[in-house]
Structure formats: structure tokens, C-alpha cells
Amino acid sequence: MSEFDTPLLDELEKGPWPSFVKDLKRAARKKPAAKDLLRQLEQSYKDKIGHWKHGGIVGVLGYGGGVIGRYSDSPEQFPGVEHFHTMRINQPSGWLYTTKALRTICDIWEKYGSGITNFHGSTGDIILLGTTTDKLQPCFDELSAAGFDLGGSGSDLRTPSCCVGPARCEWASIDSLDLCNDITHTYQDELHRPAWPYKFKIKISGCANDCVASIARADLSIIGTWKDKIRVDAEAVKAYANAGLDIRHEVMYLCPTKCISWNKDSQTLTIDDENCNRCMHCINVMPKALRPGKDTGATILVGAKAPILKGAMLASVIVPFMKLEPPYTELKDLIGKIWEWWDESGRNRERIGELIKRKGMRTFLKDIGLKAVPQMVKEPRSNPYFFWWPEEVVSGKET
């Protein structure tokens, strides 16, 4: 018999990829909760079903979210995981850490929890996986004293997330880190006290490569871009060509707007910036030669979400270009209007994207005071069922 009698899980200790089973066993040697987690997981591998219940509201004083209750459905068999709650902790912008900060979290979690974590959860939080109801408050107290706070859960704002931004990336057209930190601190109440129809996610990417998948996942997606010209270093272009990059095939032909031309003889690359849609491909392929422009800001999109309920949605453009400088007043005004509109009309469990779909983008734009522009659509409508606002038609005699 293996150490914890987990013959199925032991199979996952083999192979080159880091093994979570090997790692969980380290925790299992120290903590009864971690040991029973491993044993219950083995049971799931035998039964081919999960063994967790939700149910029961747990939390810490002053907060409406951030802690998820979790209970074993077989507490007699696995007493160590009878209560095995999750704490979501705000990650710092860009998931940047010092080892000192990480060790602090580890020490607190060793004291109050199972010692098991996710670095990180899908939404971005640090996930502390597995503690009991009585440990939640003291654990939170110590995290708070160390400078950490809870993330969101339920019908509230989720911890906003962002890419590494200007801390390490030359493509960041906005200060994604500062903006993320600023709005996370600005909206603490929205993050900690669920009061909305459903969840709301904000994600910030410095460029259209969108490393945090904001366009697929965020109710409010902020993507850095520029309005002027791509900066070209002509000598560096030549260096790429001389080093063997096939600029014609790998750059020019793949440009979606065909706005790049390449003269092989003179080794000059010309960009018709007026017709560039800033997709990032050429910059991705030639990062030493091409850089985003200097007149930078962000495109604001709304409404992305996973399938629950009306099917998955991608985010849609509502502001093609917004300058984003601290204190980000224009953006915060817009966020305030969006939340007010959603809060007023949204049904239970209706994400902003679904509400816009139900009420119509036209109504949404009018109510939050945005003017329709072609950048908002792939194409204009093709059906003739459109409506006029009363003030747009001549209010004549009744016929």
C-alpha cells in the first residue's frame, strides 16, 4: 500500500509535468485536512464524481463575499475536510510579488489553513483552499494586518486583473498596473458587499494581444491602443531582413488590412497607418523594429462572459478611444453610469452583456450618454425593424 493508500492518484506522480499529487502529499504529511483532501480525491477518482457540497453562508465580519463555503459529502469518511472553505485574496496588480510577501501569506496559511492554494484562481485572486469556519476570522485578521484583503464572490465586483504592463512590457499603451490598482482601491465597497444583479469583472490589457483575455471574460474590458503611427526603426527592420526574416510572407501578407508594403531591394518597410487596425501582428513579429505609437489610450468594451446563461459573449466596443491618466475620472464616470443602468434594470443573474442584449445596445448607449459611431459595429443592421425616438419624428395629427 502506498503512503496514503491512493493508488490511482499515485499514477499522476509519473511524467515530466510538475505533479500536484507529489505536492499535495507534502501537505498531507503535515495537516490532517490535506491528508483527507487527498483521500477524498482518490475516492472521486474511484467513483468518477465529486464529493463536495456547497451550502451555508460563511464569511468574515464586515464582508458579504470573498469566502466560499465548502463541505465534504462524506464527513464520516473524511473528517479532515468536513469544512473546507475557500478564501479569495486580492492579488497585487500584474501578479507581481516579492518572496517576502509570498512567505507572509504562506506563514498565515500554515497557521490557519490546509496549506493548499491556487496561484492563482481563474479570475486572478490568490486562492487559499481549505479551512474551517472558526478559522476564517482570525485568518482574515492576520492577512489584513499583513496588508492583504479579500476578493469578491457572489453578486459583486471581482478583483480586477491586468497584464504585467509598463513594469516589463514595451507594448503597454496604458499603465495597466496603476489603473488596476487604482480602481481596485476605488471600488472596495462594490468588491466586498454584493449588491448587484450578478457578478461584474473588470480586466485591463495594455495592448490588443490581451494577455488577460479581457475581451473574452470581462464585463468591462479595457485594452490599450494608440491613435498615431507605429514607430518604425528602419535599421532594425533591415537587421531582421538580413537575419533571415521573410518579411513579405511573415509580415506583409499576414497584415489583415494590407497596409504594409515591403521593398526588398531597398529593404524598406512602409506602413499606411491610416488603414492600420492596430492588430499587433507586425509588432509581435518584429518587436525590435516596430513599436506602438505615442498617442496612447484605451478601447473600452463591455459585456463579455462565459456561457451562463444566454451563451458566451465577446465584449463589444463602446468607446473606441479614451485617454487614461490618473485619476481616471472619465473612465470612472462611465463605470458609474454603466453600473447604475445595470442595477436599475438587470434581472437576478443577468450580466451586463445580457441586459444590453435584452434592452438593446441602442437603448444602453442612449441611457449612458454615448453617441453611436461605426467603430461599435462589424456592420450596420441588415433588417428594417428599427425604431425612432419620439423626438426624432414629426408629432403630427393622429390619422
Partner: protein, 351 residues
């Protein structure tokens, strides 16, 4: 009483002196080899990044090991990526190679950059979720073991991003991935009528996103309209007497061709490739083989820089199914909202 609403620590506390000095001044970068980047500043300063894969589900022992390494080679400065990789942020170039050696010794693979496969974004699965249709960490481990060469090398036509969600609630938001592994339930909750009086029936009714659950006051229970249930498990969240997990019917579906980046073509959803594969712990051989097959056929057929979805757009879905040998079924034809936008409305197609 603890302070509340303090928010996260300021990220600036976690930037190395070099990163602070060159904040917003980065000029360009280069992938020196798989897993190793150098970013060069306008000031001439260089920052080296060494990227390593991680299981995501990690213990504090693991984190402390990682901290020991970071203290030794990069003054304690590190970060995590949006796909759960660990990035060691190295100021001293001479420490890059020794760091890579140490990571290898400790079993942490270095890679995940450029035209290859990086860590799989994933959810909790059986280890901690209450509505999973499959496990997460185990499937990810089995798939990454098999695709390991693509993590430590960069020999695919383009980036290939894989994500796993253990049910359609999609905590992992896998719906725009080159390859998405999605756990699916296939049967509605089996209501334990004799136990239902222990649950708050109004909450159960309100929890159903499709209104499929009706009150049955005579029996102090509920009835489920099976035709409207799409197996999300929200009712089970409210009431443990409505379990929907089922060892024979739960399993995995595979979706392909999504992307998030705007490069070349716009972001797109992943589309259904394989409607069902059984749950076969501990190593899910059917799922691993199916994904490996898709990766191999893509790697052979796609042009340089072509993401999986862009390759399929070029060759057509009929060719995708023919080349991969994946059977096309009635499950592949949409019948939810906007289904008609996915039907073929031209006479242009291939045989």
C-alpha cells in the same frame, strides 16, 4: 478588529529597483530560447525573465521552494502569468543559466513562450468544486505530460493555448481557447424527493437559470422539466438533494479554434470538435489522445503564425473533420440562440 477594505498591496512595493527605474521605458524584447526572455530598456538596462510551468494547485511548501530559488537568483522578485506560469525576474544576466539548471533539478520545466504550448488554464475539478463533471488538475497533468515537448520547445506554427473548465459554468472561461477541454454533465439532477423538505424550495426554484424547476407543494418537493435543464448544477448549490453528478454520463467535450488575441484576425469562440469522451481517471487516455491528434494535425497543416482557428478558417471545417478523423454528428449543429448564423448559407464548400 482587523482593518477592512484596505485592498491589495501596491504593486510598486514588489518591483525590483531595475523595474522601477525602467518603468514604462521598455523598448523591445526578445525570446532568447524557450522560456527565456530579455526586455531591453531605452536606458540600455536589461531584464531577464525565466518562465517555468506550475501545477497551479500548489502547497505552501511549493511556494516556499519557489521563493528560495527567487531569493537565490533574482533578489526575491517574481511574478505569475495569467496562465499560471511562474516568472523569475532576473537582473543579473550571469544568474540566468544557473537558475535554469536549478529549476530543472527541482522538476520545474522552463518554457511556455512563443510558438508552443504554455500552462493550461484550469478550474478545481474534483479536488474542490461542487458541480464538476470531470477533474481538472489530473486531466491537465495527463495532457501536459503528453504535450511536454511543446512546452519546452517552440516548434508549432503559432501559439497554442489550452484551457480546461470542469463544467459549463466555466470558472475557467475556456470558450476562446485554441483547444478547450470542457467537462459536461449529460443528465438532469436526480431529485431525492424524500429529502427535499430539508431544502429551501423557493431558493431552489430561483436558482435555476432556465426556469426548469417547478414547485411540487403536495410532495414538499420539486419537479424538473428535463427538456429545459442544461446541467449547470446551480440547484445543487442551493440544495444537496438535487445531485447531478453521474459517473457514467459525466465526461469531457473538446472545443477548438478560439483565440483571445486580436493579432491578424479578431478574437473568436472555440467550436465543438468532440461532444463526449468518458471520464477515465487517473490519466484520461481518450482525452489525451484526442488532443494530441488535433495538435499533430494542426502542426502538420498550418502555416507559420496561423493559430488553430485561423488554420481551420482557411481549410474549412469539413477538412478539419476529415484530416483529424473526428466524426461529425448532430451534436455539432447548433440549436441554441443564433444557431442559424452557424449554418452554411452558400454553395461554397469542399468535399
Amino acid at each position: 478588529m482587523a482593518k477592512t477594505d484596505i485592498g491589495p498591496p501596491n504593486y510598486k512595493e514588489f518591483l525590483s529597483p531595475l523595474m522601477l527605474e525602467n518603468y514604462g521605458k521598455w523598448k523591445h524584447h526578445e525570446i532568447l530560447k524557450p522560456g527565456v526572455l530579455v526586455h531591453v530598456s531605452e536606458t540600455g538596462a536589461e531584464l531577464y525573465t525565466v518562465r517555468a510551468g506550475s501545477g497551479r494547485l500548489v502547497t505552501i511548501d511549493f511556494i516556499r521552494d519557489v521563493c528560495d530559488i527567487a531569493d537565490k537568483y533574482c533578489d526575491g522578485y517574481l511574478r505569475f502569468t495569467s496562465r499560471h506560469n511562474i516568472e523569475f525576474l532576473v537582473t543579473d544576466k550571469s544568474k540566468v543559466e544557473p537558475l535554469i539548471e536549478e529549476l530543472k533539478t527541482q522538476g520545474l520545466p522552463v518554457g511556455g513562450t512563443g510558438h508552443g504550448i504554455t500552462s493550461i488554464v484550469h478550474t478545481q475539478g474534483w479536488v474542490h468544486c461542487h458541480t464538476p463533471a470531470t477533474d481538472a488538475s489530473g486531466v491537465v497533468k495527463a495532457v501536459m505530460d503528453e504535450l511536454f515537448e511543446h512546452f519546452v520547445e517552440m516548434k508549432l506554427p503559432a501559439h497554442l493555448r489550452i484551457a480546461l473548465a470542469c463544467c459549463l459554468n466555466m470558472c475557467g472561461a475556456v470558450h476562446c481557447s485554441d483547444i478547450a477541454i470542457l467537462g459536461i454533465h449529460r443528465v438532469p439532477p436526480a431529485v431525492k424527493h424524500s429529502e427535499m423538505h430539508k431544502c429551501e424550495i423557493p431558493n431552489v426554484l430561483a436558482s435555476c437559470p432556465t426556469g426548469a424547476i417547478r414547485n411540487d407543494p403536495a410532495n414538499k418537493s420539486v419537479t424538473v422539466n428535463n427538456d429545459r435543464c442544461m446541467y449547470c448544477g446551480n440547484c445543487y448549490t442551493m440544495c444537496p438533494n438535487m445531485p447531478l453528478m453521474n459517473p457514467d454520463n459525466d465526461g469531457i467535450s473538446i472545443w477548438v479554434g478560439g483565440k483571445v488575441s486580436n493579432a491578424r484576425s479578431g478574437p473568436k469562440f472555440s467550436k465543438l470538435a468532440i461532444p463526449f469522451l468518458p471520464n477515465t481517471p487517473p490519466r484520461w487516455p481518450e482525452t489525451v489522445a484526442a488532443i494530441k491528434n488535433i495538435v499533430q494535425v494542426y502542426a502538420k497543416g498550418a502555416r507559420k503564425h496561423e493559430r488553430l482557428g485561423e488554420w481551420i478558417d482557411r481549410i474549412g471545417w469539413e477538412k478539419f473533420f476529415a484530416l483529424t478523423g473526428i466524426p461529425f454528428t448532430d451534436k455539432h449543429i447548433d440549436d441554441f440562440e443564433h444557431a442559424e448564423t452557424t449554418f452554411r448559407t452558400t454553395a461554397n464548400f469542399k468535399f
